[in-house]
Symmetry: C3
Subunit: 212 residues, 3 copies
């Protein structure tokens, strides 16, 4: 019963997160003047691509959206609503950033749990969380022909790593999933929101071949 | 016997389609000044990439070209011939557009049939058709560093969706595959050619962050 | 025992190669001003992406880095050291080119051996070698938003094809793996270094739509 509580929490956050990711992806598609079909496809790839890449790399079949095709409908529907109500969206920028951060930490812990259930080593559990949390945005940027934001800005991947690491540490320390999941979610979310608020950045590596 | 007729038709159209896709991909590679090896690789990825992505996402192994390596030779050979005979190609632009449309609808129905054979739900059957029909061109555009055309122009993905949907509806209505396949092929092809002829477009979603 | 000698040689070259690929990938990430996390991710994708793509396409699970997570640590560590010691790197340009060539031929033969162990046909064995040798660099270029170098410059993919082909021919001629592996490695390496030294290039296919 206890396990079900944290699973239910994660599932709820997952549904919120795929809708939020679909909406921000639709805005990215709109910046590239894509048509409505392109908007829907970019939204599905962004919202469900991280989990799909994880499952393909780990050989974890069938993929989430193959088992739950309704998620494709949810993300495509959210994307179309976003395109229709675009004038409203700019005012919701802060809400999107919050929901995107919720998605990042929720996706991360879901990805960790998938790898844990496959009995994979700790480092792969962390990587599985990072792929689930971050790869959708990378796929969006590649399809929109941008250098992925992940590699250049903000502590996105680092938040995912910290969230996954804390979750595993708390389990290791003897906490139940029902305690470890919400704690890791809250700390990860706080870390992400602080990074956004204070514009925390990692050091960059700037290299020029004409360096002397 | 009856089933074999539509299977044979699809297989013939499939072979025509991978050759046509290889030829148009070679022209795209030529626009980027790629060398002959690059031309062959882009051709194979474009012609066989949609089916490969579908099989990887659905866990449907072995992939088509692993079972039929001769398809790799066909696509690479067609690409090299295109590079050698490039001056002729411009005159064949209409023929290429026709063959590309044939490929789109044939790939779509083949993708639907793969998912049907795996007993997947209807929505995944449609998605499987769309991935098979459209993803090769997306991979080509990503490798050539373009924003995928699919997301911006023409009714490509929509034609795939309509073709797959009609095919499933006709089967649902009690038609045999031997009747449903050619009907869906012809309607899908007509839809695509009309969209090209009259430059039908979907509404676009144009979003700028400086919108006020 | 004899087989183990060539396996040990390949394994040693593999470890050298993933470190070298990680270091050149880190420099590519530095040219795009990526942060340290981005540098690590690009390094892992470049060094391990070719083998991963091969395994996903062939359905060969689990992937190398899932079985050996220490490789992820090695590549990420090498990438960070490169970022820290960047001023030294420019002097090592020749060494990097040499190690990259070692990686290309070693990855190629490892990829051939994976497909051989799966009893796949000769053409797929060659393709498996080429994917293992070349795809990491393509993924790096796509993530850095460049047209992949592979398709435009140098005899990279051709060297991979020649190395794999020679390896298979030597086995066919009755040589043991212990003889065929080092011979193919040396010839492939020499071919690559000569191509670099004398700037050998394949003919390019240059196509413009306004050609008349």
């Amino acid at each position: 019963m206890h396990v079900e509580t944290s699973t239910l929490l994660l599932h709820t956050l997952y549904l919120i997160a795929i809708v939020a990711e679909a909406m921000t992806a639709a805005l990215a598609a709109g910046r590239r003047d894509m048509d409505w079909m392109g908007v829907c496809i970019i939204a599905c790839v962004t919202a469900l691509g991280g989990g799909s890449l994880r499952d393909v790399l780990l050989g974890h079949y069938p993929l989430t959206w193959v088992r739950h095709p309704e998620y494709l409908g949810m993300t495509a529907g959210a994307a179309l609503l976003t395109a229709l109500a675009a004038p409203l969206m700019r005012r919701l920028r802060r809400l999107f950033l919050l929901l995107d951060a919720v998605g990042l930490v929720a996706f991360t812990i879901i990805g960790c749990k998938v790898a844990q259930a496959m009995q994979l080593p700790v480092s792969i559990v962390l990587i599985s969380g990072m792929i689930t949390g971050c790869a959708g945005g990378v796929l969006r940027d590649v399809l929109c022909n941008d250098v992925p934001l992940l590699f250049r800005k903000e502590l996105y991947a680092s938040v995912s790593l910290v969230t996954g690491g804390l979750y595993l540490l708390l389990l290791e320390a003897g906490l139940t999933a029902n305690a470890a999941v919400p704690l890791a979610l809250v700390v990860g979310l706080a870390f992400r929101l602080l990074a956004l608020r204070f514009n925390w950045q990692m050091p960059r590596f700037v290299y020029r071949d004409d360096w002397h």
